[in-house]
């Protein structure tokens, strides 16, 4: 990868991290239940099940700082996961 490619690949990643951090910290994202949750739990009158597993970050509790931090960690983690997995399984270029 040359410098121009690093910029091309890096820009969307930096943008994604920045936008998500800003949206979470500023509370801009919708707090409504998503389409599935609304249709099932609100419209159809189902009680939302209490899962035993709240996610690996549940010990951090709720809050803007925790959401932004775990969100950014997730974005970076999945970048490396995607990179690593495709590196392992893809065909080697000649």
């Amino acid at each position: 990868m040359d410098r121009r490619d690093v910029i091309r690949f890096g820009t969307p990643l930096v943008l994604a991290v920045s936008i998500v951090a800003a949206v979470i910290i500023l509370g801009v994202a919708s707090q409504n239940p998503d389409g599935f949750e609304w249709s099932l739990f609100d419209f159809a009158g189902f009680t939302e099940p209490e899962g035993g597993f709240g996610g690996i970050w549940s010990f951090l509790g709720e809050g803007v700082v925790a959401d932004a931090t775990t969100g950014i960690i997730g974005i970076i983690a999945i970048f490396f996961l995607g990179y690593g997995l495709f590196w392992v399984i893809s065909r080697r270029s000649k």
Binding site: S30, F36, W57, I89, S90, R92, S93
Partner: protein
């Protein structure tokens, strides 16, 4: 569209785990056979962008929605690459508590397998039609946006059908979940258009439908002819 544990019957989850696992193996084999490692960094970037986009919900009163990105990925990398990225994103989300671990197979089937294959096929069909009237880049942008809308609505319909196995969830609720996603689909189409526009301008080589594509081979489905643009190219 991320279904948590404890809603759907276990027999349905087992069937869809099996089907999804099978498709995951097929996609890994296809990537191993056809995918060139020079574009590996894009996989990481795309996975990160899709994960980030799914974190942010936009309002669709009384509900909300977020990008799924299956059609976008299928058009860029082909359905196999798209499936694998959606599979990774859903796996990390399940670890985060967004979508259940037992429902991972079902969520992957709806948003990965079904949406990537349908989104890819619809986009290709529309792309071929639009290309007669305008240039390739505009055609891919509009065909992908329209296909992503249709795919979102149909994926919600499929989820509604799966929910019919839950007692108390009837056809009225099936209609509602489909209708809500008819509005959420507009957001999906707009975001798909915007993200694809970035890649059309920054690196059209990673869009499988385009003539200059370096990943066109990935877009092939066994038994289905190659897209016209790639044959001509």
């Amino acid at each position: 569209m991320h279904v948590p544990d404890g809603v759907l019957p276990i027999w349905l989850l087992v069937i869809l785990y099996f089907l999804s696992g099978l498709m995951l193996v097929v996609s890994v084999k296809m990537i191993n056979k056809k995918y060139d490692n020079r574009l590996v960094p894009y996989m990481g970037v795309l996975a990160a962008v899709i994960f980030a986009a799914q974190l942010v919900n936009f309002p669709v009163p009384p509900s909300s929605g977020h990008l799924v990105g299956s059609t976008l990925l299928a058009v860029m990398l082909g359905p196999w690459g798209g499936m694998l990225i959606i599979g990774m994103v859903l796996f990390v989300q399940a670890l985060y508590g967004d979508g259940g671990l037992l429902t991972y197979g079902l969520n992957f089937f709806n948003m990965g397998v079904f949406s990537c294959l349908l989104g890819w096929a619809l986009s290709l069909l529309l792309f071929k039609g639009l290309k007669r009237f305008t240039d390739e880049k505009k055609s891919v942008l509009f065909s992908t946006a329209i296909a992503s809308y249709v795919t979102t609505v149909l994926a919600a319909f499929v989820l509604g059908l799966e929910l019919l196995t839950v007692s108390g969830f009837g056809f009225a609720a099936l209609t509602v979940i489909t209708l809500v996603h008819a509005f959420i689909g507009i957001g999906e189409a707009v975001l798909t258009f915007m993200i694809l526009l970035y890649f059309v301008k920054a690196k059209p080589q990673v869009i499988s439908f385009l003539r200059e594509s370096e990943v066109s081979e990935m877009a092939r489905i066994p038994g289905v002819p190659m897209p016209t643009a790639q044959i001509e190219g």
